[in-house]
Amino acid sequence: MARITMREAISQALMEEMDRDPAVFILGEEVGVWGGTYAVTKGFYDKYGAERVKDTPIAENAILGAAIGAAMVGQRPIAELMTINFAFSAMDYIVNQAAKLRYMFGGQFMLPLVIRAVGGGGRQLGATHSQTPDAIFAHFPGLKVVSPGTPADAKGLLKSAIRSNDPILFIEHATMYQVRGEVPDGEFLIPIGKSTIQRPGKDLTIVTYCKGLELSMKAAEELAKEGIEAEIVDLRTLRPLDMEPVLESFKKTNRAIVVEEGWKSYGVGSEIVSRIYEEAFDYVDAPILRVAQKEVPLPYNRTLEQAALPQVPDIVAAAKEVLK
């Protein structure tokens, strides 16, 4: 066990899996000589060489298409999208190809592909470079979508993702690489598709993931000062969605909010709230609220951007509202 950053945890997972399985290789923009734009693959090029750490042209379609092809013939590529915003330039490969090829051909082959992508706002990168579009990707059957909120989960989930035989979109948050946490050394796997309780509590349930987890943990501390004990359920995987811990918690607290960084309309929260109403209607004591991004493209100006993103006080206020 060591206290390391999210960046180190992801790096560790990649390295351990590359050491374990020669079929694993990385391709993407600036992953090699540069060392990764977020320095996640720093040192990889020297250690594994250009064969296994492939710098690509700026060509998202070719990156994902080639990764899909290589996966179909038995390799285990990890394709890196410099940011998730560039996934839109290669949407066809994610939606029409990766998510469907196996099914359409009656399961004749596997598609063991990990697409790593950095998402999230808060860095003043402007409207096209700041998005948290996770919900869109979770919409498509055939794709798995994972987005960790702690360094330990990042390591354990990424290792599992690389070993999985299915296409997985692995979403990291650009402002969380410095987040520190205890991470087990060496072999450590967290199953894909399992939600978990990150903080026990009895008064209300906060359902969240990724950046929302960081914010919700802070909000829970604020609430605790006023004697309110929030239970935090971290989804970790958006598809397949594991509602068990959410429902179990909700049946105990009868009140919930959902916290996500993406836009509210048609978002992760919309899905969670519907599921709770569908599966635990009798336990509902108050309307379930969603805390999410304002319905605007993110602006460059720092004050405006921060005003558009969900913040700790928004979570505290929503929690108090459902407890009224």
Binding site: G35, I58, A59, G126, H129, E295, L304
Partner: protein, 322 residues
Amino acid sequence: MDKENLLQMYYEMVLIRRLEERGAELYQQGKIGGFMHLYIGQEAVSTGLIAAREPRDRVITAYRDHGVALNCGISANEVMAELLGKATGMSKGKGGSMHMADTSKNMWGGHAIVGGHLPIAAGFALGDQYAGNDNITICMFGDGATNIGYFHEALNLSKTWNLRVLWVCENNQYGMGTAVDRASAVSEIRQKAEGYGMMNSRVDGMDVVKVHEAASEALKYIRTEGKPFLLEIMTYRFRGHSMGDPERYRQQEEVKKWQENDPIGIFRNYLAAQKIAAGNDLDGIDAQVEIEVQKAVEFAEASPEPALADLYTDIYADADIR
């Protein structure tokens, strides 16, 4: 080109250089955020190019856009204000460094999705063709952008439909840390135009006079023939890709070698050799720029932040809907 125009180009190049140097300082002080890509070293490219356009010709470029903005006649005040995210910036503080546009000056933006603006440029030319005018769209992009599908789709369309586009590849020899030969199947980008049967040429981008000549010729061809043209301009960025680039991918000697080829220095020598302006005259322009940039910084710092309500403006053209 007459003396006045030559000195105007000199002034613009120095303005870009000085404004960006101040911008870099303000970035270090945390007054500018996000990604900021400096144009330093490449000033001759947009200066020579845009000096050759008619005001009715449209310009569109990538995120490395401060120079292009200034060349198109956007004021230093507005550029600096946008960098600081102020309401007085041309994009009202919503766009930042990568998204400078003033459509009244036919500057259609800074665009941050690599290659994404190329098909849009073809669309400008389509709109103008449809309207029956002979306006030209000047579309600038990097060497790295020629490896993405957008580039190829846009070139093909422009040739097939006889669209008046001047495709300008600013070959600064790297896309982030990737040298051209590590990412492109051909090292001369202009060769890519050959595949689409498109007229093309290649010019030294450290010499503003040569850039201006090459651009003028290309524009004349496009205007009269009603066909697109690809101009590859060889250049080099003296600074990192953006602020905070560790620059592990290139040798300091290489950077030094290019810095000795400073486009501003080359142009000064040219102006002196042609007896157009003496060192003193040019120093006078430098001093004038210094004041203009200082005023721009003061203007930007004193400018108001956008109002919180502005979060919700400009989303839709129909009465703003949440």
